[in-house]
């Protein structure tokens, strides 16, 4: 007979063991899927790891992919900690990209010191504004934010497509005949390219550094400020928050906006660090927003753990996309991410519960040993 009992205290070592175990479990499960579909799991894994981390230049590419993942992961962590389910990081990232690229194009000719901060601010602001919509609806009309924020992802994707493919918008390149026939966005000026910093064998993009700073700020906000305290109370019990006189509605909007700002910064970094153009297809294919949920869950909503997990999953996505082709089918990355999440959820059980296997009718220890008199 299997019994599941609540642990009185969380086992510390499990906090590290669970994410690692989840990765291992997901690796085993996905190997089974690979095997069943006629692929050699070991060879596939070897290629994935090589292309993700060890091949020359792989780490730099991985860090570029990890940057938006880090920021959407933080976005999810910021909201989920308050039990506010912002599933809209995907759309908020698109909006951040739209905002940052728009400012970048508008400020053409300005020096980098003007353009880059403007892009950062635009990304933060547009992402926050987009996320505030489901936030306000949740706070003031009690509309389920999961569905509204998700619906807005589709709308944001369509908005991007419209700007580049179905309109003569400010973002679209109309300067040449080919650009009119094969629509694409305007490229940003050289000054709008974000700097990167070579350290060791890898190149660290500015966005990643901003993400690390954001992680530290998020951690500080949640542990050491009134705002964070209130968010923790709300996250634990809405009734207790109401009782303590906390303005729950404003806080929901604020946390959604904060979450959206982080995702929006992820969009800005995609433009500044990597694409330098508003690229609807590329951004939608990457689906960084959804992957951010995986990152946050695996990091158990800890901002610093988000950094590590983002780099790990960034490597896998990066490798998955660059290897995609006839011998390496698409869809493996999402499958893998899903499996990691499943394992992490199952592992969460171990943190909070003790699984006992044994027969009923065993002799229980005497009262004195249990510590209850």
């Amino acid at each position: 007979m299997i019994r599941i009992e609540r642990r009185l205290t969380e086992a510390r070592w499990l906090v590290v063991a669970v994410p690692l175990g989840s990765l291992l479990g997901a690796a085993i499960l996905s190997s089974i899927i690979l095997f069943l579909t006629g692929h050699d799991p070991l060879a596939t894994w070897a290629r994935l790891l090589d292309r993700g981390f060890f091949a020359s230049g792989a780490m730099s590419a991985t860090l570029v992919t990890a940057t938006p993942l880090l920021l959407t992961g933080l976005a999810a962590a910021a909201a989920f900690r308050m039990q506010t389910w912002n599933i809209g990081a995907e759309g908020q990232l698109y909006l951040g990209a739209i905002g940052a690229s728009g400012i970048g194009i508008a400020l053409r000719g300005q020096p980098a010191l003007v353009i880059i901060p403007a892009m950062v601010i635009a990304g933060l602001a547009t992402g926050a504004a987009w996320a505030a919509i489901p936030g306000v609806l949740r706070a003031y009309t009690r509309t389920n934010e999961i569905i509204t924020s998700l619906m807005l992802n589709y709308v944001a994707g369509l908005l991007m497509t419209y700007l580049i493919f179905d309109s003569h918008s400010f973002w679209r390149d109309l300067s040449s005949f080919t650009a009119r026939v094969f629509p694409q966005g305007k490229y940003l000026s050289e000054a709008a390219s974000w700097p990167s910093f070579p350290i060791g064998g890898a190149v660290i993009p500015l966005g990643l550094l901003l993400g690390v700073v954001a992680a530290a700020v998020l951690w500080l906000v949640y542990t050491a400020t009134r705002f964070g305290f209130e968010a923790r109370v709300i996250g634990d019990s809405r009734a207790a928050a109401h009782y303590a006189g906390i303005r729950t509605r404003r806080k929901i909007v604020a946390v959604m906006a904060l979450s959206g700002a982080l995702a929006g910064l992820g969009g800005a970094s995609e433009i500044g660090d990597f694409r330098h153009v508003l690229d609807p297809r590329g951004l939608q294919q990457a689906s960084f927003g959804y992957a951010g949920i995986v990152v946050a869950a695996l990091a158990r909503l800890n901002p610093f753990a988000v950094i590590v997990v983002a780099i790990l999953l960034g490597g896998l996505s990066n490798a998955g996309f660059s290897l995609q082709g006839a011998t390496f089918p698409a869809g493996l990355v999402g499958t893998l991410q899903g499996l990691i999440l499943f394992c992490a959820l199952a592992g969460e059980l171990l943190v909070h519960y003790r699984v006992r296997i044994g027969r009923p009718g065993r002799k229980a220890p005497p009262l004195s040993q249990v510590g209850v008199a």
Binding site: T143, T148, M151, L345
Partner: protein, 320 residues
């Protein structure tokens, strides 16, 4: 002729576009009635779409054999996918929200459904067989009601039967009463000898099966071919529909056709040379979902009419 008028065309295709939503929403409704929220509908639909399409391409024999097999395969795929969610949330008490999201990421676009589609090389080919509109009782050309009620495909008629069956099941049968009790007050149901775990597992899996069929409707009737991520959010709209319907099957039918109409509006108006950017039409179902949700979340509807009281709460007997 009146049957070519915009309204009739929209109404007829609203039913067609609404049918997959209805299947998925009925399934989610049953799962939620048992107290389990499954946000993985989109993923389960995509699994149904890809496996159903695969079956129709692979299974020989006459068209109807192939199609029925495809529907069964899609239902099994959906149910199998939902089993993961059932195990994680019912047995392991994981967060229903996160597990449902995980299911969508796992099975959805750029997940397992996409993997299967690419491995089996299904993309870009027309379906060998598809669900054609029937001419029921020869009334296809009857004015107004003909195209709307008598010129739909077989699955649509199946979905109507399902609505009636679900209503009967929920309110007139003993297992239906038990199901409602499990979602409403699992502690009561348990104390009265109803097997809460079994009811939850079974209904989550029925929900998965119906979502799978809904997905197959896309690849076998609407498109009919396979594309990565082809349900484009229908699963999420189905979840919203359950809220909109106050967890009642007959209202789910109304809601499904309302949203079907938003989708068909986009295609019909575009086909009739109404000049607006296609994205405006395409975003209509998503925006309307938000609007409708806001409406049912405020005012008189605010008291969570019909929501199962234990929705989203794991049931644990031996915990104090």
């Amino acid at each position: 002729m009146i049957n070519d008028s915009v309204l009739v065309v929209i109404a007829a295709s609203a039913i067609s576009y609404g049918t997959p939503l209805l299947f998925a929403a009925l399934g989610e409704l049953l799962a939620e009635r048992s107290g389990v929220l499954n946000l993985g509908v989109e993923g389960m639909m995509l699994m149904g779409a890809v496996t159903g399409f695969w079956a129709v391409q692979t299974v020989g024999g006459p068209g109807w054999v192939s199609l029925i097999t495809a529907v069964v395969v899609a239902a099994l795929a959906g149910a199998g996918t939902s089993l993961i969610h059932a195990f994680l949330t019912i047995t392991l008490r994981a967060s229903q929200i996160v597990s449902g999201l995980a299911l969508t990421i796992f099975a959805g676009a750029s997940g397992l459904s996409s993997y299967i589609g690419h491995v089996a090389n299904l993309g870009g080919k027309p379906a060998r067989h598809e669900f054609d509109a029937l001419n029921v009782l020869g009334l296809r050309d009857a004015p107004v009601i003909g195209p709307i009620l008598f010129h739909q495909n077989a699955l649509t008629y199946v979905s109507w039967t399902l609505v009636a069956l679900t209503l009967f099941y929920l309110y007139r049968t003993r297992p239906g009463l038990h199901l409602r009790a499990v979602g409403e007050s699992p502690g009561t149901a348990d104390a009265m000898g109803v097997n809460v775990t079994a009811y939850r597992y079974i209904h989550v899996m029925i929900g998965g099966a119906l979502a799978g069929i809904g997905g197959a409707f896309f690849s076998l009737a609407i498109t009919p071919s396979w594309l990565d991520g082809m349900t484009s959010g229908a699963g999420w709209i189905a979840i919203a529909l359950v809220i909109f319907a106050f967890w009642r099957p007959e209202l789910a039918l109304v809601g499904a056709y309302l949203f079907g109409a938003f989708s068909s509006l986009a295609f019909t108006l575009q086909a009739r040379q109404v000049h607006l950017p296609p994205e405006v039409f395409a975003s209509l179902p998503y925006l309307m979902t938000i609007v409708v949700l806001v409406l049912v979340s405020t005012g008189w509807a605010r008291r969570r009419l019909g929501a199962p009281a234990a929705l989203g709460v794991p049931y644990v007997r031996e915990e104090r």
